[in-house]
């Protein structure tokens, strides 16, 4: 972050807060006047003379010369330790700047690193165990490869992506549809604190902005802009994640969709994306960005497990479908004690996992 003049920032905020002046117009104005302060001071004629700027827009600018609101926002930011990233800042990723509608000013908490562009993972709030597993695997992998994980801090997939990344000491950015001083959903209070500690929470809305549905499409655009690749894990038919995917395509980002059962209502959206030509996501290494080291991949996937004969029978039985311990006992027709003991040890060794009483296979072979 560059050191800003406070005076300067006020004009930036002022410009971003004029109703009716979007980021496209602002950028056009900045192109000519260079700084927001010059826009503030510009005369009617100077603005009117510009190509593409009409009477109405000029009126809007000239009629909102009050800096009170901007000052209030800035004071609030200082009080809450919220930092501001302007369009001119070098930490503002170049790839995001080139997006037509990218905001001219961003509020954030935490730390934005250089090369913060990474892989976005988005998906359903109400996800399944399958979606969770895919998300966690991908986010862990990205964290180990030092690739930033970008998401929206919503319930479900978003939350899992951030959490899994943080647990593996990765860098993660959450882009919000409300002010960065508000935690939405509330259950992610601790998660938000951790993200601020080890990454950044970004929003284009000034502090105090409530999470409203109209804010979310813009947030989604920013999520897709802030990545090189987008991974869509689970999305229903009308999921907001599909909007993110749409933006990503417009912005020439590579979109990966996780395939799933065609009858699963959670994955109608992702399966449709695949039909429309998105990449099919099959393994985390697909998410690697060219400039990252590829060595790490080989290490993590070469684990082989040795199984005893009973363990092998058990794995064979639970491989293809979920099965409860009782069903297994009936199926195997063996000494109960022996089975208990074996399963118990297999759980310890991480070969099987018991989720809600259902045994699931974790072996790779």
């Amino acid at each position: 972050m560059e050191i800003y003049d406070k005076e300067d920032l006020i004009y930036w905020i002022w410009l971003s807060e004029i109703r009716g002046i979007g980021s496209v117009t602002s950028k056009a104005l900045l192109n000519v006047f260079k700084t927001p302060q010059n826009i503030y001071k510009a005369s009617k004629e100077e603005i009117m003379n510009l190509h593409g700027i009409g009477n109405a827009t000029t009126e809007l600018i000239l009629n909102s010369k009050s800096l009170q609101k901007a000052e209030d926002i800035l004071n609030k930011c200082e009080k809450l330790n919220i930092k501001i990233l302007t369009y001119e800042d070098s930490l503002y990723p170049h790839e995001v700047k080139t997006i037509k509608k990218s905001p001219i000013i961003l509020y954030y908490r935490g730390k934005i690193i250089e090369n913060s562009l990474g892989v976005s993972i988005v998906g359903a709030r109400r996800c399944t165990e399958y979606g969770k597993r895919v998300t966690v695997e991908a986010a862990e992998f990205l964290a180990k490869c030092n690739i930033p994980v970008i998401s929206g801090m919503a319930k479900g997939i978003d939350g899992y992506a951030h959490t899994a990344c943080l647990k593996n000491n990765g860098y993660t950015i959450a882009i919000l549809g409300c002010g960065v001083d508000i935690c939405y959903p509330k259950e992610h209070k601790e998660l938000m604190e951790k993200i601020i500690e080890n990454g950044a929470v970004i929003s284009q809305y000034p502090p105090g902005t409530k999470p409203e549905s109209k804010h979310f499409p813009d947030r989604n655009r920013l999520i897709s802009a802030w990545c090189k690749k987008l991974l869509l894990v689970e999305a229903g038919e009308k999921s907001g994640s599909l909007i993110t995917a749409k933006f990503a395509k417009e912005q020439n980002r590579q979109v990966f969709a996780v395939p799933n059962c065609i009858y699963s209502s959670e994955s109608v959206g992702t399966n449709k994306l695949i039909e429309e030509g998105s990449q099919i996501y099959l393994k985390p290494s697909q998410l690697l960005l060219e400039d990252y080291d590829k060595q790490i991949i080989n290490k993590s996937h070469s684990k082989k497990t040795n199984l005893t004969s009973l363990e092998k029978t058990i794995i064979d039985n639970i491989k293809d479908k979920d099965i409860t311990l009782d069903e297994l006992i009936i199926k195997l027709q063996q000494d109960k004690s022996q089975i208990f003991q074996t399963i118990s040890i297999m759980e310890l060794e991480g070969k099987v996992i018991n989720v809600g009483g259902v045994l699931k296979n974790l072996c790779l072979n």
Binding site: T163, A164, T324, L325, D326, K336, S337, Q341, G356, G357
Partner: protein, 512 residues
């Protein structure tokens, strides 16, 4: 000189002797009953007058004073009626009775001078025996309950006149029905574990819970059979000793909910209060500091279905009784100590929607944890076994072999309990593995090197808390006892490690 007749009052679940002193003094005709009686005691004078006049005896037209001694303890109930009537008739020289101090009287009078049944007969009869009162006169309906106490003469009557003519020696006592049949009949329970099919794995751990006196929580989707299993747990507990049965009957007698004309309760109690139960209804209390559900479940099973829906404060009130096996209820008027040595069986859904682990569950990990945190740590800490129960596929039921019968399972439980009884016979307040103190765990749960390694692995993998360590040792001791093994073997530890289904999941939860 005033006449003195014995009766009894209840404090907690025990009775004490009350001396009913009656005197008639010259003065304005009136009746005053002193000795801190409640409204039921004060109203006795109207019943007294009506029933005495009913049989053409004379109600003295003098100042009548009746004192219930000791006079500084509050007393309640209508069972003093009979003693008062006898006392008054003796005092006014209308009847002659010898050896009256060797008689105790319990019974409420009707206006027609009939004797009505009362509550708390069993503890009163026991107190009579303790105090050397060898004859007890009770209402006929309470006869059976009173005769649970051996070694004293119990006389049951229907009418006041019968009592009087018996006391005067006019007509000898004739026992109408043969009441003193053998009380200890092992009644067959209505339920049997035989009916539970396809849940063999869970039942294995239920048996362990019963065998070692471990508290248990079952988690599972709605309709998976948690309640069905819970209802059958009393059937595999060892049958009650006579002492235990008397304790239970006493509590029920005091609470006034003894059925079957007061026969001995031989089935272990099973109490399943609904989750909107108040703290007082659970631990005891109310105006008269009556026993609550935990005392009614004494020597049996307290089943808390949907334990996560209980009021948090109500649940936390169970902490002390779970630790001490008794509960002290203090009210302005009374302070009672009730026994509450029960086995806690709880059931809950694994997540807000109830279908955790299945395809249809969409709860986030945070929501799941939040839901489970409704159970406070101290309560969870007192529950050794956490087990998932899975629904059985209905269409496959015919494939499953019939479940093991309760009597078979009870044999296993009794086998393990006998070993424990022998082990803990010289140790006070410890009867089962579940009650072991850390010092005892150190003494009785020696681990082999291999077992220690296994435990180490489990702690590395699942990040258990330190206190869980003791639970594993206690449980492995129980599994060893069930096999009759003196040592705790590796397989016992392996089985014990399967008892913490909910804890285990903590490590797979993706939350900060």
């Amino acid at each position: 000189m005033a006449s003195v007749v014995n009766s009894f009052a209840i404090s907690g679940i025990d009775a004490y002797v009350v001396k009913i002193e009656t005197d008639t003094i010259y003065g304005q005709p009136s009746v005053s009953i002193v000795g801190l009686g409640d409204a039921a005691v004060k109203e006795a004078k109207e019943r007294l007058e009506a029933s005495i006049i009913h049989f053409k005896y004379e109600f003295p037209k003098m100042k009548i004073v009746i004192n219930l001694a000791p006079g500084d303890i509050k007393k309640s109930g209508s069972h003093f009626d009979l003693a008062m009537a006898i006392g008054l008739l003796i005092q006014s020289n209308q009847i002659k009775a010898e050896d009256i101090q060797n008689f105790g009287f319990i019974g409420e009078l009707s206006l027609n001078a009939e004797l009505r049944a009362c509550t708390g007969i069993l503890p009163m009869a026991m107190e009579a025996k303790n105090k050397g009162i060898s004859n007890l006169i009770v209402p006929r309906d309470n006869m059976q309950e009173a005769s649970l106490v051996k070694g004293i003469n119990i006389f049951g009557f229907e009418k006041l006149t019968d009592v009087i003519s018996f006391l005067e020696g006019v007509s000898p006592y004739s026992s109408l029905d043969n009441l003193k049949v053998d009380h200890i009949i092992q009644k067959s329970y209505l339920h049997d574990f035989e009916d539970v099919q396809g849940q063999d794995a869970v039942i294995e751990f239920i048996v362990a819970a019963a065998a070692g006196g471990h508290n248990l929580i079952m988690s599972g989707a709605p309709g998976c059979g948690k309640s069905m299993i819970a209802k059958r747990i009393p059937t595999i507990l060892p049958s009650m000793t006579e002492e235990e049965a008397l304790d239970v009957t006493k509590i029920y007698s005091v609470a006034g909910i003894l059925k079957n004309r007061g026969s001995l309760i031989t089935e272990r109690p099973f109490r399943a209060p609904h989750h909107n139960a108040s703290t007082n209804s659970l631990v005891g209390g109310g105006n008269n500091a009556m026993p609550g559900e935990i005392s009614l479940a004494h020597n049996g099973v307290l089943f808390l279905d949907e334990i996560a829906e209980f009021n948090k404060k109500t649940l936390d009130a169970l902490r002390q009784p779970l630790e001490d096996n008794k509960v002290t209820i203090s009210r302005v008027k009374y302070t009672h100590v009730y026994p509450s040595n029960f086995m806690l069986i709880a059931a809950m859904n694994p997540c807000p929607c109830g279908y955790y682990g299945q395809q249809r569950c969409h709860c986030t990990d945070y929501e799941v944890l939040k839901y489970r945190q409704r159970l406070s740590g101290p309560i969870l800490d007192r529950i050794d076994i956490q087990k998932y129960v899975q629904p059985v596929e209905f269409m496959k039921l015919s494939d499953y072999s019939k479940g093991t019968s309760s009597s078979e399972l009870r044999e296993k439980v009794e086998y393990a309990r006998n070993i424990q009884r022998e082990r803990y016979k010289n140790i006070e307040k410890v009867n089962s593995n579940g009650e072991m103190t850390p010092a005892l765990i150190k003494e009785f749960c020696l681990l082999e090197e291999e077992s220690t390694k296994l435990l180490q692995m489990a702690f590395d993998r699942f990040k258990y808390s330190a206190r869980t360590f003791h639970k594993f040792l206690k449980l492995s001791r129980t599994f060893a006892d069930m096999d009759g093994s003196e040592k705790v073997r590796k397989q016992d530890i392996a089985k014990a490690l399967m008892c913490r289904d909910l804890d285990k999941e903590r490590v797979n939860m993706v939350v900060v």
